[in-house]
């Protein structure tokens, strides 16, 4: 399901969900992503992010989003649900664990970075975030999407290839038998 979605979005724009409690940072990250040709939705907390994804247990809210989310970028230090806790919740969910999650933080704390990467974060960006960071990130995600697409197309075509190989095999046998029959006759 997630693979199928990636294949449809690799030809169009990425839809990014950006989570940050700072209004200044939300405005900046939104612009950085828009300039990098991404669709952006910003929310101000981990709780709101879960609501948007429909992961907050309230079934009624899953209709909120009109676009599939391809990437989640979240601040680490937020009141309420931290970026790390949000990451965990997303990775625990069967519907959303395939979505890459990137953590942003103004603090370069090695154990924190390791903790996030171990939990399955795609990348860890140090704030303040720059255009070069977002461009690099986008390339990473798009390449990941293309790699998934190739994997999928390989999986789809291999049964076909096996069949083709079998047909080829039978023709060889038939041909050999024909030669033998002609030889005998």
């Amino acid at each position: 399901m997630a693979l199928g979605d990636l294949s449809s979005s690799s030809t169009s724009e990425l839809h990014v969900l950006a989570v940050d409690d700072s209004i200044v940072d939300r405005k900046v990250i939104e612009r950085l992503l828009r300039i990098s040709a991404c669709k952006v939705t910003t929310v101000e907390s981990g709780t709101r992010a879960l609501q948007y994804l429909g992961l907050d247990g309230d079934k009624g809210s899953s209709g909120l989003k009109d676009l599939k989310v391809n990437l989640i970028v979240t601040d680490y230090s937020m009141p309420g649900l931290t970026g790390y806790e949000l990451l965990k919740k997303i990775k625990e969910s069967s519907a959303f664990r395939e979505i890459p999650v990137v953590i942003m933080s103004s603090e370069n704390i090695q154990p924190r970075i390791e903790q996030c990467m171990t939990e399955g974060a795609e990348d860890f960006l140090l704030k303040p975030v720059k255009l070069a960071d977002v461009k690099r990130l986008k390339e990473l995600i798009m390449r990941g999407g293309e790699a998934e697409q190739e994997k999928t197309s390989n999986l789809i075509s291999s049964p076909k290839r096996i069949l083709q190989n079998n047909i080829f095999f039978f023709f060889i046998i038939f041909f050999i038998i024909t030669i033998i029959v002609i030889f005998i006759v």
Partner: protein, 156 residues
């Protein structure tokens, strides 16, 4: 007409460079300017406006927390400083950010007097920056009204 534009552009360039040289702004401000184009000519002004509103709000709440010497909520002050440091860093407000670093140190050792001094300093710095940037944006507007383009300024 052309010389008027050229003069304004020169003024703009010199003023912007001076803001970097005097330490008001750092590289992140340059990064923000990169995100502005003809389609979004007010982007930087909008971001810094949000920043200054943020400053005002945070300074007020930290001031309240520091008000009574016998009952200072240092956790709240620390949270405010953290937010202020973050947003000043995001817009390239170098002096404000640097005061926040000292401010955090005062918070960590629960030095109320030190905190009050830093609070006063951060208030001064953000208001100073606000005035400086207002002058810069005015120059920008004058250039545009005179039919000129905003110069790309290289800070090295």
């Amino acid at each position: 007409m052309n010389t008027v534009v050229a003069q304004l552009q020169r003024q703009f360039q010199d003023y912007l460079v001076s803001l970097y040289q005097q330490g008001f702004l750092d590289n992140q401000f340059t990064e923000l300017r990169k995100l502005q184009d003809e389609g979004t000519p007010d982007f930087v002004a909008e971001v810094v406006s949000l920043f200054f509103d943020d400053c005002s709000k945070l300074i007020n709440s930290m001031s309240r927390s520091l008000e009574r010497p016998e009952n200072v909520d240092f956790k709240q002050v620390d949270s405010g400083v953290h937010q202020l440091k973050g947003s000043s860093s995001s817009v390239g407000a170098r002096r404000v950010k640097n005061v926040c670093i000292s401010f955090k140190e005062c918070c960590d050792v629960q030095n109320r007097e030190g905190c009050l001094r830093c609070l006063q300093q951060v208030d001064y710095e953000y208001k100073m920056l606000k005035t400086k940037l207002q002058d810069l944006f005015n120059l920008e507007q004058q250039i545009v009204q005179a039919g000129g383009a905003i110069p790309q300024v290289n800070i090295n």
